[in-house]
C-alpha cells in the first residue's frame, strides 16, 4: 500500500508529462486528479491499518533499494509510514485532491494544462517523499524536489519575465536554506553515523539536554526550515511566489510545502528537545516573522499578497509554538491552517476567475451578490483564520497561546498583537472585496460571475473542514473522550520497533484559572477589532489608498519594510560587483595577463636574441671562434 501512495503521483507526472500533449484537455485534468485521489485513498487505508491492525508496530517500513553505499556512508531509498507522516500525507493528498479538482476548471483555458497537472503531480510526489521518507536523505530529496516544483509552478506562465524572476527568487531563497539543512545533515551523519530517523533519534535519546551538537544541528536544520517556511530573514520569496496560478498558491504556498519546516522540527523533536537555546531562537524568529508579516499585510492591496503575508504570519505562529515546545499545537495549526488557508486561496482564485484575472481588491467590491457561494465560504475561511470561537482556527490558536502563556509573557502579548492585526487585515480584505460597491471600470459588473461547480465544490468541502477541523485536537475542557486526539496520536507508544514520534514527553501546558479567564476575555477584543474594521470598510466604505499615496508608517508597510531593497543593496549588488570585478580585473587582467606576460617576455627576449642571427657571416664567424675558445677553455681548466 505504501508504495502506491508514492508511485501514483509519480505515474501521473510521467503520463501527463510525456503524453499529456496528445491527450484531449478534458482527460488531462481528470487523470491528474485521479492519481492524487488514488494516493489519498491508499493513505486513508494505510492509516486505518496503522491504527487498527498494526497496533504494536507504530509504523510501516518499506525499503526500496540502496541509494548510496560509499565507505562508511550508507543510505537507502526507504519509506516509513508512521503517525506523523500519515497526518502530513493525509493533508497533502487530501487537500491536493481538492485543489486538483479545482484546477480542472480554473486552468481549463490554459494551453499548458497537461504541464500544469504533471507539475502538480510531481509536487505531490516530492512532498510525499519528504514526509514519508525514512531518513534525512529522503527528506532532503523531497525538500529540494518541492522547491523545484515550486519554481516550476511559480514560473508557470513563463512568458512573463517578472514571474520568472519571482520563481527564481523562490528557488534561490530555498537553496540558501537548503545549504543550512545540508550542513545540518552532515553534522548529523558525522555524529550519529546514520541518516535513518530511528537510529539517529535512538542515539540522540542518550544525550543530555543542552548538548552543543544538538544545538548546532537544531539551528542548522532550522535554517533549512526558515527557507522553506518563509521565516525571517528568508521570507521575501513567499509573497512574490503569488505570481503562480492560484491553485498553486493554495496547495504549495499555503497548505503543504511551506509547512515542511514545521514537519522537520516536529520530526526532529528529539533533537530540539535537547536544544533549548535553539528553541528560544526559533520562538523569537517566529514571533518577529509573525508580527512583521502581519504589519505588512495591513497595507497590501493585492488579494493574493494579503493572503501570502497572512500565511507568513501564521507560519510564524507555528514556529512560536515549536519554540515553546508545543509540537502538537504547531502540527494542529498546520492542519487547520491547511484547511482555511487553502479555502481562502481557492476563494480568492474564484474571485480572480470571476473578475477575469483582476487581483487588486480596490477594483472589486460588492461581489457578494454575484458570487454567493464564494462569499459564504470565504467568510467561513476569514472567520476561521481570525480565530472566531468554535471554528477550527480558534482551537489551534488557542492551544498555541496557551503554550506561549505558560512560557513567556512578553511573547504572549506580542503574539496577541499579531493575532489582532490578523483580524484587522483579513476583514479589511473581506469587506473591501465582497461588500461596498463595484469599482472596476474595465469590466462591467454584469460580466462578473460565480465559478462553476467544479470550483465551488472544493470550496464547500474546505469550508466544512474549516468549521469542524478543530475536532482533530479539542482542548481538554471539551471533555475527556473527544479531546486531544492529535496529542494522543503523536505520543502513542506501542512499544514496538518504532518509538513514538515525540520521544520526549511533551510538557503539558497547564494554566491557571485566571489565565483561562484571560484567554476567554480575548474574544470580546477580537469582536471590538471586527467592529472597527467593519465600521471603516463596510459602513464608511473606505477604499485603501494606492501605494504611491501612502505616507509615514503606511509607506514603509506598503513597501514591505524595504526588505527586498535592503537585500538587493547588501547582498545582490555587492556580489554582482565582486563578480564584475573578478571578471574584468582579476580574470582578464591578473590571471590571463600574467600568463600572457610570460609569453610576451619570451617574445621580447627572443627578439633580442634574434638580432644575433643577422644573416651576416662575419658575425657568425666571430661567434664560432668565441664558442671554440670557450669550449677549449672549458676543457683545459
Amino acid at each position: 500500500m505504501l508504495e502506491w501512495i508514492i508511485v501514483l503521483p509519480l505515474l501521473g507526472f510521467l503520463i501527463n508529462g510525456l503524453f499529456g500533449s496528445i491527450f484531449p484537455k478534458s482527460i488531462v485534468g481528470w487523470l491528474g486528479t485521479a492519481f492524487v485521489f488514488g494516493s489519498f485513498v491508499a493513505t486513508c487505508f494505510l492509516f486505518r491499518d496503522l491504527l487498527t491492525s498494526l497496533p504494536g508496530e507504530g509504523s510501516v517500513y518499506l525499503r526500496v533499494f540502496t541509494f548510496l553505499n560509499v565507505g562508511n556512508f550508507h543510505v537507502d531509498i526507504a519509506f516509513q509510514f508512521d503517525r506523523l507522516s500519515a497526518i502530513m500525507a493525509l493533508i497533502i493528498t487530501g487537500i491536493g485532491t481538492l485543489i486538483h479538482l479545482y484546477s480542472i476548471s480554473y486552468m481549463a483555458d490554459d494551453a499548458g494544462l497537461y504541464k500544469f497537472f504533471s507539475f502538480l503531480n510531481l509536487f505531490i510526489f516530492n512532498m510525499l517523499v519528504l514526509v514519508l521518507g525514512s531518513n534525512f536523505m529522503m527528506m532532503f530529496f523531497g525538500w529540494e524536489g518541492v522547491g523545484l516544483c515550486s519554481y516550476l509552478l511559480i514560473g508557470f506562465w513563463y512568458k512573463n519575465v517578472s514571474f520568472g524572476k519571482a520563481a527564481r527568487k523562490a528557488f534561490i531563497m530555498n537553496r540558501i536554506g537548503d545549504l543550512g539543512l545540508l550542513m545540518g545533515l552532515f553534522l548529523i551523519y558525522q555524529n550519529f553515523g546514520s541518516f535513518e530517523y530511528t537510529e539517529v533519534f535512538a542515539k540522540v535519546g542518550r544525550l543530555e539536554v543542552g548538548t552543543e551538537i544538538c544545538t548546532a544541528i537544531a539551528l542548522l536544520l532550522f535554517i533549512g526550515a526558515m527557507g522553506k517556511s518563509a521565516q525571517i530573514p528568508l521570507f521575501t520569496w513567499l509573497p512574490d511566489a503569488m505570481a503562480g496560478p492560484t491553485p498553486v498558491s493554495a496547495l504549495i504556498h499555503a497548505a503543504t510545502m511551506v509547512t515542511a519546516g514545521i514537519y522537520l522540527v516536529v520530526r526532529c523533536e528529539a533533537i530540539y528537545a535537547l536544544a533549548p537555546f535553539a528553541r528560544e531562537v526559533i520562538m523569537w524568529i517566529g514571533l518577529a516573522t509573525s508580527l512583521m508579516a502581519a504589519l505588512i499585510g495591513l497595507k497590501q492591496n493585492d488579494i493574493k499578497k494579503v493572503l501570502a503575508y497572512s500565511t507568513v504570519s501564521q507560519l510564524g505562529f507555528m514556529f512560536i509554538a515549536l519554540g515553546c515546545g508545543a509540537y502538537t499545537a504547531a502540527l494542529f495549526h498546520v492542519i487547520t491552517h491547511a484547511f482555511f488557508k487553502a479555502l481562502l486561496f481557492l476563494g480568492a482564485g474564484s474571485v480572480i476567475h470571476g473578475m477575469h484575472h483582476e487581483q487588486d481588491i480596490r477594483q472589486m467590491g460588492g461581489l457578494r451578490k454575484k458570487m454567493p457561494i464564494t462569499y459564504l465560504t470565504f467568510l467561513i475561511g476569514t472567520l476561521a483564520i481570525t480565530g472566531f470561537p468554535m471554528l477550527s482556527g480558534f482551537f489551534s490558536k488557542d492551544e498555541i497561546f496557551t503554550a506561549i502563556l505558560s512560557h513567556n509573557r512578553l511573547v504572549f502579548i506580542l503574539g496577541l498583537l499579531s493575532a489582532f492585526i490578523t483580524v484587522f487585515y483579513t476583514f479589511r480584505m473581506f469587506f473591501v472585496t465582497f461588500h461596498g460597491t463595484y469599482r472596476n471600470h474595465h469590466h462591467s459588473f454584469e460580466k462578473v460571475h460565480e465559478s462553476p461547480l467544479l470550483m465551488t465544490l472544493p470550496l464547500l468541502i474546505l469550508a466544512v473542514l474549516s468549521v469542524i477541523g478543530g475536532a482533530v485536537n479539542f482542548p481538554n475542557y471539551m471533555g475527556e473522550g473527544i479531546s486531544g486526539g492529535l496529542h494522543h496520536l503523536l505520543s502513542f507508544d506501542g512499544g514496538g520497533r518504532f518509538s513514538p514520534i515525540l520521544i520526549f514527553p511533551e510538557q503539558s501546558f497547564e494554566i491557571s484559572h485566571a489565565q483561562e479567564w484571560l484567554l476567554a476575555a480575548l474574544t470580546p477584543l477580537f469582536l471590538t477589532i471586527f467592529v472597527v474594521v467593519r465600521n471603516k470598510y463596510l459602513v464608511k466604505a473606505a477604499v485603501p489608498e494606492a501605494d504611491a499615496d501612502q505616507v509615514g508608517l503606511g509607506k514603509v508597510l506598503a513597501n514591505k519594510f524595504y526588505v527586498d531593497e535592503s537585500y538587493d543593496r547588501s547582498f545582490v549588488e555587492p556580489i554582482e560587483l565582486v563578480s564584475d570585478t573578478l571578471t574584468e580585473y582579476v580574470d582578464e587582467k591578473a590571471f590571463k595577463s600574467s600568463f600572457d606576460g610570460i609569453g610576451r617576455a619570451n617574445q621580447y627576449f627572443g627578439s633580442l636574441l634574434s638580432r644575433v642571427q643577422n644573416g651576416n657571416i662575419e658575425y657568425y664567424l666571430v661567434y664560432m671562434v668565441v664558442g671554440l675558445c670557450l669550449l677549449l677553455a672549458f676543457n683545459l681548466f
Partner: protein
C-alpha cells in the same frame, strides 16, 4: 587495443571518404568500443586489480606498449565512448568543417582511450600529448578573430604542464630498479619526502592545468568560448577528466608521500576555485562562457574531494566526473542548437525560445537541474558526497564550497530564464532526429544516474580501495 584501433581506423576512413562520409556510420563506429568495454568488464575479477589487455615490447624490452583495464579505467572508457558518438551525432552541420571535425573527434577518441588504458608511463605521456593535437585543430576550426591566440595559449599552457610531468616521469624512470616505465616499476620507486614533493609537483602540474585548478585556469574560458561546439564538448566533457583521472591513477600511486604536503594547498585552491568560478559565472552574458566558468567551479569541487582522501570524496568525485561529462555535453549541445538556429548565444539577445521548441526546453531544464544538483538528477549524489567529504575535512571550507549550490542555482536559472522564458525575441527551428536522439540518451543518463548512482560507485569501488591502500601504506597510516 580494439578501443584504440577502431576509432583510429574510423578516423582514417572519414578522412579518405571526405564529403561522402555518413554521419550515422561514424557514430556507429565510434560507439563500437562500448561493446568491447563491456567485454573487458567481463574479464575483471573480484580483486579489482588492473588486468593486462595488451602487452608488447616497444621502444625497448622494458619500455613496453601495455594496456590495462580496471573499474576506474572502465568508467572513463564508458564516459569517453558514450559521449564521443553523441558529440559526433550532434555535430551535424552542412559545411566542410563537418568532415574535419568528425575525423578529428574520432582521432581524439582513440587518443583518449589510450590515455585511460595506458599502463606504461611513457605511453601515458604520449597518449596524453596525442590527445592535445586533435583538440588544437578542432579549436582552430572556427577561426574567430582571436582563435589563434587563444588556441596557442591553451596549447602552451597544457604543454608546459605536460613537460613537467614528463620530467617527473623520467626522474622516476631513472630511479627504477629495472629501468622501466611500467606503472608497477615506477610505483615501486622509494622516494624520500623531498624527492616525492618534487616528482609530485611535476606530475601534479600537468593535471592541475588540465583540470584546471584556480591559478592555472586562464586558458579555459576563452578556449571553451571560441571552440566549435564539438570542441567545447570534448574539452569540458572528457578532457578535463583526464586531469582528474591522472591524479587518481598516476599522482596518488607514484608520489603518495607528497600528498600530505599538497593536500591543504590543493583543497584551499579548489575551494577558492569553486567560489571564483561560480561568482564569475553569475554575470556572464555569453552562455558558453557561463558554462565554462560553472564547469571551473564544479570540477574544482571534484579535485577538492579527491584530496580529502576519503572514500566519499574519491568515489563521489569519480561519480561527479562522469556526471559532469554528461551535463556539460548536454549544456553545450543545447547552446549549440540555440546558436545554430538563432545565430546568437548572448543572453540579452535571446528569450522565449520555449515557445517554439518544447523538447529543447524540457531537455535544457533537465540538464540545468542536473547541473544544479537537484535530487533525483545525476548531479546530486556526487555533489552531496563531495561536500560531505569536504565537511569531514573542514567545516568552514565545506560551508564555503557549499555556497556553490546557491550560486549554481542563480546562474543556471538565469541562463534558462533569459534564453528560454520571457517574450520571444528569436525563434528556434525544430530539432532534427539526431539531436533528439542525443537528447534522449543524455536525459536517460541524467535521470538514471540520479536514481541509481550506486552503479557507478560499485564500478570503481575496488580500484579506489587499492589506490587508498597504496596511499596509506606509503604514509604509514591505515585508514
Amino acid at each position: 587495443m580494439e578501443v584504440i584501433i577502431i576509432p583510429f581506423i574510423a578516423c582514417l576512413c572519414v578522412s579518405i571518404l571526405g564529403k561522402r562520409n555518413n554521419i550515422w556510420l561514424s557514430t556507429l563506429f565510434s560507439s563500437l568500443p562500448l561493446f568491447f568495454v563491456y567485454q573487458y568488464f567481463q574479464h575483471l575479477d573480484s580483486s579489482g586489480k588492473w588486468i593486462s589487455l595488451f602487452d608488447h615490447a616497444w621502444i625497448s624490452d622494458k619500455i613496453r606498449f601495455t594496456l590495462a583495464f580496471d573499474g576506474l579505467t572502465g568508467l572513463m572508457l564508458i564516459l569517453t565512448n558514450m559521449l564521443v558518438p553523441l558529440i559526433i551525432l550532434a555535430g551535424i552541420r552542412n559545411d566542410e568543417n563537418q568532415v574535419k571535425l568528425t575525423a578529428l573527434t574520432l582521432f581524439m577518441q582513440a587518443a583518449l582511450n589510450g590515455v585511460f588504458m595506458a599502463h606504461d608511463g611513457l605511453m601515458f605521456y604520449i597518449f596524453w600529448e596525442l590527445a592535445l593535437i586533435p583538440i588544437y585543430f578542432i579549436t582552430l576550426t572556427m577561426s574567430g578573430k582571436q582563435a589563434f591566440k587563444i588556441t596557442l595559449r591553451f596549447f602552451l599552457y597544457t604543454f608546459v604542464g605536460s613537460l613537467a610531468m614528463l620530467a617527473s616521469l623520467i626522474y622516476l624512470f631513472l630511479h627504477t630498479a629495472d629501468h622501466s616505465f611500467d606503472f608497477e616499476s615506477l610505483r615501486a620507486v622509494e622516494l624520500n619526502l623531498n624527492q616525492s614533493i618534487g616528482v609530485g609537483a611535476g606530475i601534479l602540474l600537468a593535471f592541475l592545468v588540465k583540470i584546471p585548478i584556480l591559478p592555472f585556469h586562464s586558458w579555459q574560458a576563452d578556449t571553451y568560448t571560441e571552440a566549435p561546439a564539438s570542441g567545447s564538448m570534448l574539452l569540458g566533457g572528457i578532457m578535463l577528466k583526464m586531469g582528474l583521472y591522472g591524479i587518481l591513477r598516476w599522482y596518488f600511486p607514484l608520489a603518495p608521500e607528497s600528498i600530505a604536503f599538497f593536500q591543504p594547498w590543493i583543497i584551499g585552491l579548489s575551494v577558492a576555485g569553486v567560489l571564483y568560478g561560480a561568482i564569475i559565472a553569475l554575470r556572464q552574458k555569453d552562455m558558453k562562457r557561463l558554462v565554462a566558468f560553472s564547469s571551473l567551479s564544479h570540477v574544482a569541487l571534484i579535485a577538492a574531494g579527491f584530496f580529502t582522501l576519503s572514500a566519499e570524496g574519491i568515489e563521489g568525485g569519480l561519480l561527479q566526473m562522469f556526471v559532469h561529462g554528461v551535463n556539460v555535453v548536454g549544456l553545450f549541445l543545447v547552446i549549440e542548437i540555440i546558436e545554430r538556429s538563432t545565430g546568437t548565444r548572448v543572453l540579452g539577445e535571446l528569450g522565449g525560445l520555449a515557445k517554439n521548441n518544447r523538447i529543447c526546453m524540457v531537455f535544457f531544464m533537465l540538464v540545468a537541474l542536473g547541473t544544479m544538483a537537484v535530487p533525483f538528477t545525476n548531479g546530486f549524489p556526487g555533489e552531496f558526497l563531495l561536500l560531505k567529504s569536504l565537511y569531514a575535512y573542514n567545516h568552514n571550507l565545506a560551508l564555503l564550497a557549499g555556497l556553490t549550490i546557491i550560486f549554481s542555482a542563480v546562474y543556471i536559472l538565469r541562463m534558462v530564464q533569459f534564453s528560454m522564458f520571457g517574450e520571444g525575441k528569436k525563434a528556434m527551428s525544430p530539432l532534427s532526429w539526431n539531436e533528439i536522439l542525443a537528447f534522449v540518451i543524455l536525459a536517460v543518463g541524467i535521470v538514471g544516474i540520479g536514481f541509481m548512482p550506486q552503479i557507478i560507485i560499485d564500478m570503481v569501488h575496488k580500484s579506489v580501495l587499492i589506490i587508498a591502500t597504496w596511499i596509506s601504506e606509503a604514509n604509514g597510516i591505515l585508514s
